[in-house]
């Protein structure tokens, strides 16, 4: 049973048990334009909620991606190194960035659900 929540920084988190998969939203991917490179965190790295965890690059810009929730990185989407286009094609599916073991479940529940996030992006 998984649940997906969103941040106002345009990251999504899908939680299954205590395993969180994180990526950037469709809205963000559209704003960025063609993604050419993604810098992902190393396995084992401990990240705090709100800290910089990854960098996503388009041709003309580099954007930081923040960890929506804190925890230990358990894996990263290595496919993105040869096919960064996955982030544009399927940002909320095959274009996921990294997974981590959630440290604090309350951090997840504070985030927006799909409806709230949709409302949020309307105003941007």
């Amino acid at each position: 049973m998984s649940e997906t929540r969103y941040t106002d920084q345009h990251e999504w988190v899908r939680l299954e048990g205590d395993s969180a998969t994180i990526g950037i939203t469709k809205f963000a991917a559209e704003q960025l334009g063609d993604v050419v490179y993604v810098e992902l965190p190393a396995k084992g790295k401990a990240v705090k909620a709100g800290a910089e965890a990854a960098v996503v690059e388009s041709v003309k810009a580099a954007s930081e991606v923040y960890a929506p929730v804190g925890g230990e990185v358990t894996g990263a989407n290595d496919a993105l190194s040869t096919e960064p286009s996955k982030v544009n094609d399927d940002p909320e599916g095959a274009g996921w960035f990294f997974k981590l073991k959630l440290a604090d479940a309350t951090e997840f529940s504070k985030l927006m659900d799909a409806a709230e996030y949709a409302e949020f992006t309307k105003g941007l």
């Binding site: 920084q9 960025l32 041709v59 810009a61 954007s63």
Partner: protein, 522 residues
């Protein structure tokens, strides 16, 4: 994530081939040109005797394999590079309205002077007695730079503007450490600053604290002053700023940072607006780099070389890097070692090998001597006049966010006038290419949306300006009227259509590889 949406379209899109197909693939005077590696066939473009050498004194390090360099004859090489040159836009060919780049005319006298054997063929470590003319020239140039800026000293060795910024910040670091203030590591930088400013600050070991811009395009002086504190090392300002405006509260900000124990670094990229009219020294700066390849006409050369000497205040002068130029009864000499420096000198180190970009010094002095103080002043006035003429002529059809008042040597527009048209700043710029113009600086400064920064310089005639204005006017009107044909898929008349920058970044191919290797890699 920090949603940095400068990610505007970078793939090429589809475009049908509209041109007439020729047998050769060339079109009139436009020739397609392969790479030298594809032309190579074992010919040689030089004549040297085939001398045999023994391994005896090579320490066993003789090359074992071939290098793989292509060989072509001189006529083929000349044709190759001539054909390549014809695919380039250039100042000599047309107006280059690049804001903050100062694309003025590059006088050919400068080229002739730089090639005098006494300058061009002079070894940097030749004995001092053999280089007195060169040292005298550097001394003369230093006098021009310090006099024009109203500053007491100048460091000549930085090789470009960004290198000069680094020099200035390292001098500031050394000065702070010398007085026990090494804990001051914060530098205030406007959000409108050129990328080299924060990059240099980080390079020199400082942290960057951004100061916002005000709605009128000036830096928020109140915010800047509020950010001052005992941990501030310096402020870095560009004046005139990157929006093309003179900072009216610059003296106040200088006084404030000095009072707070910090220094004022000024980015001199826009010196062409005020050279010969305003002395940055009178505004309270501590250090400023001067881009000789902008203000003083040394050629841009397709991206370099530049030169970025840095003028320094009394408080920073002692920390100027090696080498130092000294004049005494015997003539000029260079102090190249800390131990030989006068007691008051505490150089922070060395920016590069040898003495600086002598080739650019000769060109810059040639420019200065030709212009004289009155000509330098005239250049600034004409540059400012031309930019304002463009602003006044276009602000009714394009949108100038700070167009209510005069600008300095460059005029800033944004993309509000294109709203709803489907045409972006990028499309607008690419359409200019079809009209025979190099686009203006786009998407910089970051403080306005879809920025278009236009700097005509003093080298354009009124007719040239009028033609430029007319084209921009018509393009703007067409875009606003929804007539987007000129913009769709532009440029269409340049040697290349829009290029796929996404592909270039996703699958970097940074060198030619011989076919078998290429296949193996795929």
């Amino acid at each position: 994530m920090s949603l940095n949406n400068q990610g505007r379209p970078t793939s090429a899109g589809y475009a049908g081939t509209g041109a007439i197909a020729t047998i050769s693939g060339d079109r009139g005077l436009d020739h397609e040109e392969p790479l030298i590696f594809e032309l190579a066939h074992g010919a040689v473009g030089v004549d040297f005797p085939d001398v045999k050498v023994s391994d005896e004194r090579l320490g066993g390090m003789r090359r074992k394999g071939v290098i793989g360099l292509p060989g072509i004859s001189e006529p083929e090489a000349v044709r190759h590079y001539v054909r390549l040159s014809r695919m380039n836009y250039a100042i000599d060919a047309g107006l280059y309205p690049l804001g903050s780049c100062t694309m003025k005319h590059n006088p050919r006298l400068n080229e002739k002077m730089a090639r005098l054997p006494g300058f061009g063929d002079l070894h940097p470590l030749a004995p001092t007695a053999a280089t007195q003319g060169a040292l005298a020239l550097i001394s003369e140039l230093m006098k021009w730079l310090t006099t024009l800026t109203g500053m007491p000293a100048v460091a000549m060795s930085p090789k470009a503007g960004a290198h000069g910024e680094l020099c200035g910040l390292l001098a500031i670091r050394a000065a702070l450490q010398a007085r026990g203030d090494g804990h001051r590591t914060r530098i205030l930088v406007p959000e409108s600053a050129h990328g080299t400013n924060p990059a240099t600050a980080a390079f020199a070991g400082f942290t960057v604290d951004e100061v916002p811009a005000m709605p009128d395009g000036h830096v928020d002086a109140d915010a800047l002053e509020a950010k001052l504190g005992p941990d501030v090392a310096a402020i870095m300002l560009t004046n005139p700023n990157t929006c093309g405006l003179f900072e009216p509260r610059v003296k106040e900000m200088a006084d404030a940072v000095h009072k707070a124990g910090g220094y004022f670094y000024c980015d001199g990229a826009n010196f062409n607006a005020i050279a010969g009219k305003v002395r940055p020294g009178d505004l309270g700066i501590d250090a400023m780099h001067i881009n000789l390849h902008k203000t003083f006409s040394t050629p841009h050369g397709g991206g370099g070389p530049g030169a970025g000497p840095v003028v320094l205040s009394e408080r920073l002068a002692p920390f100027a890097p090696l080498p130092l130029l000294v004049a005494d009864a015997n003539g000029f000499r260079l102090v190249e070692h800390r131990e030989e420096a006068p007691a008051s000198a505490k150089p922070f180190g060395r920016m590069c090998a040898f003495h600086g970009q002598m080739g650019m010094f000769v060109r810059a002095l040639s420019y200065m001597l030709s212009h004289g103080r009155d000509g330098v002043r005239q250049s600034s006035e004409d540059a400012v006049l031309s930019a304002n003429y463009i602003l006044a002529s276009l602000k009714d059809v394009m949108s100038a966010p700070f167009g209510d008042g005069p600008c300095m040597h460059e005029a800033l527009f944004d993309d509000s006038f294109l709203e709803g048209s489907g045409v972006t700043t990028l499309d607008f710029a690419k359409a200019m290419i079809d009209e025979g113009y190099h686009p203006m600086t786009m998407y910089f400064p970051l403080v306005v949306h879809g920025a278009m920064l236009i700097e005509p310089t003093e080298s354009e005639s009124r007719e040239s300006l009028d033609c430029f204005i007319h084209v921009l006017r018509e393009l703007a009107l067409e875009a606003k009227a929804g007539k987007t044909e000129r913009f769709d898929g532009a440029p269409r008349l340049a040697p290349r259509r829009r290029l796929d920058e996404t592909l270039a970044a996703r699958k970097p191919v940074l060198r030619w590889k011989p076919p078998p290797l290429r296949e193996a890699a795929e």
